[in-house]
């Protein structure tokens, strides 16, 4: 008997795969959301913020693709998600960063949920794969929190002056 054929069809757990597919949707939604934020900043000549959100939009797409290829590489079926209800209407730059932080927190929680499910099902491959995402999320949240701190420190200053103090990525 051909020993290589002993490999199972799919090396990740089917229920975990479903959660990973939801996560692809969440990352793509985050990407679309950051793109809307980038446009808002771009139209108002907030140069650092616009660069920051264009970069975020790209990074979120990369996250989605990382999960997408992971599912297929492990014998599962990655699903190209629907992205709907993207908000393009914002009231302030600070509000945008706060929404960004909320979005990141929701992603972190979702990753934790998948990690726990992988652990429960004994899906070690997904568990190891998700470790990168967990450190990434803690960095992302930290970035957003420090930016909101800058807003607190510079309260009352002109918007463009605040923008100049913010990171481009």
């Amino acid at each position: 008997m051909n020993t290589t054929a002993i490999r199972k069809q799919m090396s990740i757990h089917p229920d975990v795969m479903d959660l990973l597919n939801n996560q692809i949707g969440m990352e793509m939604k985050a990407s679309a959301s950051y793109l809307a934020m980038a446009s808002w900043c771009d139209q108002r000549e907030l140069l650092n913020s616009k660069a920051f959100f264009y970069k975020q939009a790209e990074e979120e797409r990369e996250h989605a693709m990382k999960i997408f290829t992971f599912i297929n590489d492990n014998g599962g079926a990655a699903i190209s998600p629907n992205v709907t209800n993207v908000n393009n209407d914002f009231e302030s730059l600070r509000g945008i960063y706060e929404t960004g932080l909320e979005q990141e927190i929701a992603v972190t929680e979702s990753i934790f949920k998948i990690f726990k499910s992988a652990r429960k099902e004994g899906d070690l491959i997904t568990e190891v794969f998700l470790q990168w995402f967990i450190s990434e999320q803690s960095e992302e949240e930290d970035t957003f929190r420090s930016i909101i701190d800058v807003f607190d420190l510079m309260e009352g200053m002109p918007l463009k002056m605040i923008d100049e103090r913010l990171p481009k990525e």
Binding site: A5, I6, R7, K8, Q9, M10, S11, I12, H13, P14, D18, G75, G76, A77, I79, E121, G122, D123, L124, I125
Partner: protein, 100 residues
């Protein structure tokens, strides 16, 4: 509906060779590859959420479904749909992540 017709009209999944599967329907047997099984699982799970089931029950009370890369069309009434969901869940139950 009595139990006998229920069993006769139900859909079953069988493994034919190592990576070929068969969906046994009341009137034909459909060969499925593993990716086609995954797609069937996705469709059936999508059709059996509470909301979708409610919609089906309040409308035609059956679903038509393409399987095996759209080569076959199958007809499912609610009991068959639920039975097939179980079949599929059972099929995917034997997840053995650690390959020894």
């Amino acid at each position: 509906m009595n139990l006998e017709t229920n069993i006769q009209n139900s859909y079953q999944i069988r493994q034919s060779t190592f990576c070929k599967y068969v969906l046994v329907t009341p009137n034909k047997e459909i060969q499925l590859t593993f990716p086609q099984m995954l797609e069937l699982r996705r469709k059936i799970n999508g059709l059996t959420t509470i909301n979708t089931l409610n919609k089906i029950i309040n409308n035609e009370n059956f679903v038509l479904l393409f399987v095996a890369d759209k080569q076959h069309l199958i007809f499912l009434e609610i009991p068959q749909l639920l039975k097939l969901k179980e079949e599929i869940a059972l099929f995917f139950l034997d997840f053995k992540p650690v390959l020894v």
